[in-house]
Assembly symmetry: C2
Homo-oligomer: 266 residues x 2
């Protein structure tokens, strides 16, 4: 955390975490899985691509960074798979970039933004942007006591009552799995998770953020209706560009709201 | 890589990777997801637990290390989940420890050892230890061209023809997913992957090892027959201790074989 100028730098060592948490948020880490979702925000916040990566040279992860309204913004996109050339989507890449970014960049707050499938039975429509209340996995079934809970991996998002009040975002629970489609078992787990939106990264970001006790919030924009008529992949590709625009607008409003506030004012 | 004593240390900078790969393997990273599987090997190789962790203080990952037959051995167990107290199994923890261990320890070779489900239709029996030829995922279904291949994430294990000849281990393909049970969709993907054994970590270790071009081999011991009569969880728990002993014996034989050899002699 960069200290505001009026506080002498020697005070840093004396401040406990409670005091630190009353300082305005200074560094945000935005994690976005797909380039299509990320690039409009890179432009909006006028971020620059890293010339000398903070990550090992072997990984495809891309960092964009800059300052926007007194916030130091790092936007990380896991990049293209080096062999196949597609976005490195899913929980493994998401957990790795979250881990490495926390180590390298020490953010005050993580924002995981991305597109998602939505359930119309739970009130989701195409283009809705959800502020996530909690995340869990729906494809880690381990039917052994306690391991079953580990598999579900329920994590609360950072509570943001004021953000919720100020912005008119819908609120819902997120369920994460590594498949774009949904099997009958996935569906049963998603229902058990009481989820309104379904993505491929959120709970993985939440897992790593929780280990390091970094507050994390999740913005998920609905590209396809999972319990609707159209096949997910087709609907997802059809709506990706336009829904990404809605997502980016929501992220901008959230970042504008965050600027100047401390973590407990969100 | 630690250089053998007869080579002057100044030669290191001049050696290309081809020359380096002709030197005996000096550092092995063993990744094991469960404590029950790990502890007998810690004793066998007389490894010590890290006093000052090479990992961030927040993670539960445990490193055991020591020297055995001129090999520097690091055995990493992802530890107990801090909230739930169970082993941190599955692909996310496996990928994180593989990443962080490669960064901190620069191993010449990774051995991922663990228990697995086996398919009797493909020749697996309880207690068999398989040397894995290739790894893929069975629970990352992304039905979009090229993304589908990314989801499957097929990676070759390091080729070890001499190790195979010397030790009488069965050879088979491994399929990885985050569930202990198997849904109909999982089964279809496992059949498509032509897998004989099914685990919860292998392909994740392979993914990260491949990014950093660290050779990796996989030893998987069969605790339960997936296409058999008994429920997986019950059979797994019943056989975990005895099959772990068979696994540990196999890992010891593999490490004994590796000692003194270069990576291309395996």
């Amino acid at each position: 955390m960069v200290l505001p100028k009026e506080i002498p730098s020697s005070a840093e060592n004396d401040m406990d975490s409670q005091t630190l948490s009353k300082l305005p948020i200074s560094s945000i880490l935005i994690i976005i899985a797909m380039q299509t979702e990320a690039l409009p925000l890179v432009e909006k916040f006028q971020l620059s691509e890293d010339q000398k990566s903070v990550f090992p040279k072997e990984v495809p992860w891309v960092r964009y960074h800059g300052t926007y309204r007194n916030l130091q913004i790092n936007l990380i996109w896991p990049g293209k798979d080096s062999a196949l050339g597609v976005d490195s989507v899913g929980t493994i890449s998401a957990s790795l970039v979250t881990y490495a970014s926390i180590q390298a960049l020490h953010p005050d707050l993580i924002i995981n933004a991305g597109t998602a499938g939505g359930f119309k039975a739970k009130g989701a429509s195409i283009g809705d942007v959800f502020l996530v209340s909690e995340c869990a996995f729906h494809d880690r079934r381990i039917p052994i006591p306690v391991f079953d809970l580990y598999g579900v991996g329920l994590k609360q998002a950072w509570k943001t009552p004021n953000l919720h009040k100020e912005l008119d975002l819908k609120v819902g629970k997120l369920s994460t799995g590594d498949s774009l489609d949904m099997s009958a078992q996935d569906e049963a787990s998603i229902v058990a998770n009481d989820a309104t939106v379904k993505d491929m990264e959120g709970a993985a970001v939440a897992y790593v953020a929780d280990i390091f006790k970094v507050p994390a919030i999740f913005l998920k924009a609905v590209t396809d209706i999972v319990d609707g008529e159209k096949p997910t992949a087709e609907e997802f590709l059809q709506n990706l560009a336009t829904v990404s625009a809605a997502l980016d607008q929501a992220v901008t409003r959230v970042v504008d709201f965050i600027s100047g506030k401390c973590i407990h004012e969100l």
